[in-house]
Structure formats: C-alpha cells, structure tokens
Amino acid sequence: MLELRSVTAGYDRRAPVVREASLTLAPGQALGLLGPSGCGKSTLARVAALLHRPDAGTLLLDGTPVRRWRHRAPREQRTAFGVVFQQPRLAADPRLRLADLIAEPLRATGRRDQIPGRVTELAEATGLTPDLLTRRPHEVSDGQLQRACLARALVLRPRILVCDEMTAMLDASTTAALVAAVERYRRETGAALLAVGHDRTLLDRWCDRTLHWHEVARSRADAPT
C-alpha cells in the first residue's frame, strides 16, 4: 500500500538526514520503526506522509508513484494520511479551542455539516470529556492535548496513520489509552499504521512488526552519546 524506495531526504541537500531508506507498509498492517533520537526517523515519517519532499528516491502510494508533495499533492492523497506528532504543544494552534482543533480538517475540506457528529464521536473515542472541548490548549494537560491531536488526525478517516513518537512525552496510562484508541480505529476501518519511536517494548507490544533503523536506511556516523 505504501512503499518507500531508497528515499534520501533532509533539510540541506549536501547533508541529508535520511539516506536510501526503504520500507513497505501493507494494507492494514502496523509497522513499528525503531531508532535512536537524531537518526532521521521523524524526517522519514514526514516524507511518508507527503509532508516533506525527498531529494531522491520514490514513494509509491497504492502502487502509483507520488510526484508532488505538501500543498502540491492532491488533497485526496494528503488526507489519506493522519499524522500525530511528538510534542502536542507545538502541534496545536494555541488560539483554537479543542473542539475547533479537531474540526479543522473538516472545515478545510468543506465538510462542515459533519462537524458536530464527528467531533463528539472522536472526543469519546479518545477519552476527552465534553467540558474539555471548550478549552484552549494552555488550559489542558499534555496528555489531554495529545488526545485532541489524535482525534484531529482521525477525523477524515485516513487510510494510513503515521505516529511520530506519539507517546514519548506521556505517562504510562495516557500512552496505553492513546494506543488503545488507535487500535480501535484500525479495527473499525482497517487502516495501516506506521509508528515511529525509540521505545522497543512499546513498539513490540503495539505493532505487528518492528523494524530497526539500520534495517531501513544507511546510517550516518553518529556523534558519541
């Protein structure tokens, strides 16, 4: 369903962060990608979600190569992905109430009539109580905000979920709750999952298959840790 072939990407053409990364995500599969911090896995996750243009390599979505990225990619392709990032504080617009945050993709794609129903549905699915929905990000905790970000990622019913260190900053109970919400969604819709992280125990428990970074990409020389 999603295939990356020899993708090289980064923020400076002379010093790419990811070199020749390849992986395949089958329909409905949960694939974990394990790697130390700084190895480039977040960049690869962004490339996979069509948010970052690679310098080299190809990405095949359902067999067809993707040639355009970010705004240039067709809307149907972009919205086939749901992305959740590591830091909820940076991923949420501080001026929007949580209900508006979750509804934003529906507004952006002209589906306003679905807003009340979907927001309630997803708030329940991610464990957000109605009183939290009227609050702004600085009035809720990190865990609650991340639940809202997950709800936002699911609102357009994406076929592929990309979770970039979704639970790295959260405690054990919230982590388990978010993973349970993702799995419930996947059971209902058959969506595939690419979960990127550095916690082996979590990924092994969560995903069908876990790849280590060195199986996926050529690694750079690391600085001493």
């Binding site: 865990g143 405690d171 054990a172 388990a176 993973v179 916690d199 125990t201 428990r205």
Partner: protein
Amino acid sequence: MTRPGPLLTVRGLSVRFLMPGGRRIAAVTDARFEVAPGECLALIGESGCGKSVLASALLGLLPANTETAGSARLGDLDLLTAGERTLARTVRGRRIGLIPQSPAAHLTPLRTVRSQLEETLAELTGVRGRAALREAAERAAQRAAFPPDHLDRHPHQLSGGLAQRAATALALAGDPPLLLADEPTTGLDRPLVERTVDELRRHIEADRDRALLMITHDLAAAERIADRVAVMYAGRIVELADAAAFFGTPGPRHPYSRGLLDALPDRAFTPIPGLPPELGDLPAGCAFAPRCPRADTSCTELPPLAGSVACHHPVRPPVPAATPENARA
C-alpha cells in the same frame, strides 16, 4: 548499631497557587515522606499531579503567587521557611543538587561546558586559581562520566546523553548529600534512559551518605534504580512502598498504583479509565474514587495515609513489619 537519621523529612507539605479571581489550586496537599542516606526514593505520578511543584518547593523556586504549609527538614533546616539568602548560600548546589528536566535548556547556550563547570566550582567549593579550577573541572566531569575532550563544546553541540551528564556534573560539583533529579529521562531513548539512571544510582552507591530523590513518570526507570517508591495522585501521596514489593510481588496496594503498572506495555497495557481531576476542583473525598473499580460510599471521605497507603480499600491487607521505617533494618 544506630542508623543515621533521614536526610530529608517532609511532613504535611502543601502548596497552593492563588490564581486571579480568587481561585485556588491545591498543587500539593499534605505530602509526607522521608529520604534516608544511601537510598533512592522515586516519586511517581502522571504529568500534572504536582510532583514538579514539590521539587520547586524543596528548592525554594516557587513562583510568586504561591502559599506553602508544612515542613521539609533537611538536617536542622526547614526548607520552606528558610529565606532566599539561606537557600541561595547554603542549600542550592551545596546541600541539594538539582538535575533538571531538560539539561540542554538549563545550560547557558553561549558558554562552553568547561566555563560553566568552572564557575560553579569556584562558587560552591573554595577552589581558586586557573590551574586548580581546570583540574577540578576535569575531575568533576569525570565523576559524571562526561568525556573531558568535550568540555570545550557548547551545549547545543552535545547530544542528549552528554548534555544530561554535563548537568549531572554541575549538580555534583558542590558535593551535595541530596540529589534531586526532576524527570531526568524525558525525551531520551530507552538505552540512554537506562544508562542515565544507572549512573545516578552509581553516585549514591559510591558514597553511602548521599541520597537521590528522583521525580519521574517513567515507571521502568523507577523500577530499575529505586529503593522505595512514593506515588502521587492529584497532589497527594497515596502510597509509600518498598520498590521490590511494589514492582514485583505482592505488588502495589493502592488501586491507582495498580492501574499505573497495568498500563505498562510489558504488562497488561490497559489504561486507567477516565482522566485525572483538575487540581483546582478536587472532590471532598478520595480524588481517585471516580476512576476506581473498588470505590464505594466510604470513599466520599478522604482516606488518610495510614500504614503507607491512602485508601479505604487497599488491595491487600498490610503485611506486618513491612512499613518503610523498619523494612530496611
């Protein structure tokens, strides 16, 4: 043989914030625990439960709109009533060493690690003179396993693990008996978490008069190095237990602690239903009751911390002679 008294004794410690509009937020209520020399106490709780506020209270770093109650005795000094001068001159760095949450943010970005370490050493110890300071800095760096050839780097050039070690070196510079580690493992990879906490453990084992109070929500890290565990929920300490009994058998006694352990991916991986309460809107009785499978009408009354658990229906009856004070005898 007489055992030395505890390094830190906290009794009835409470912190509340005064918000505009008269609202009060009870961040910490009635905390009570002790840290003995040579041991590591892990203070566990989810984010927002008040653990960092407790750490700030111990160091006198609370913001202006707070009120405190209770006592926190470090030897003969009550940290809560000591003035800023006493805290700055005798406590911070000299009697309590803080290992902060995000070391890269706590190191001055414009100066090299060496210059910051030398400045701290000059201030906290009596060392003077360039050559003596240089040597002292290198020894301090080695104590924290920080490679001396990286001393001339700036903080942004260090990886996460190295920055953490630099912060540890700074905390150890004044040779404080109590180390306070505030979420030392946030954002680190699992192997690095293990290395970091092992090093922290090494520091208190090297010198049996030192102790470590580690504040974290990472249960795996706590399991790895803690001797005792204090669990915090909604600003209160709800359980105080021996780490081996807590993480192994017979397991934790408070339903919240059991829920926390069950949420780990290498155990049941099931979340605790519901969300923690707002600290500005706590119920009159047990704060965990709405989410507790064992709650009943008696939970409308606040359970006191009795026999190391604050619960009306702890999971197992107390095992005789398993109280913290004599468990280590």
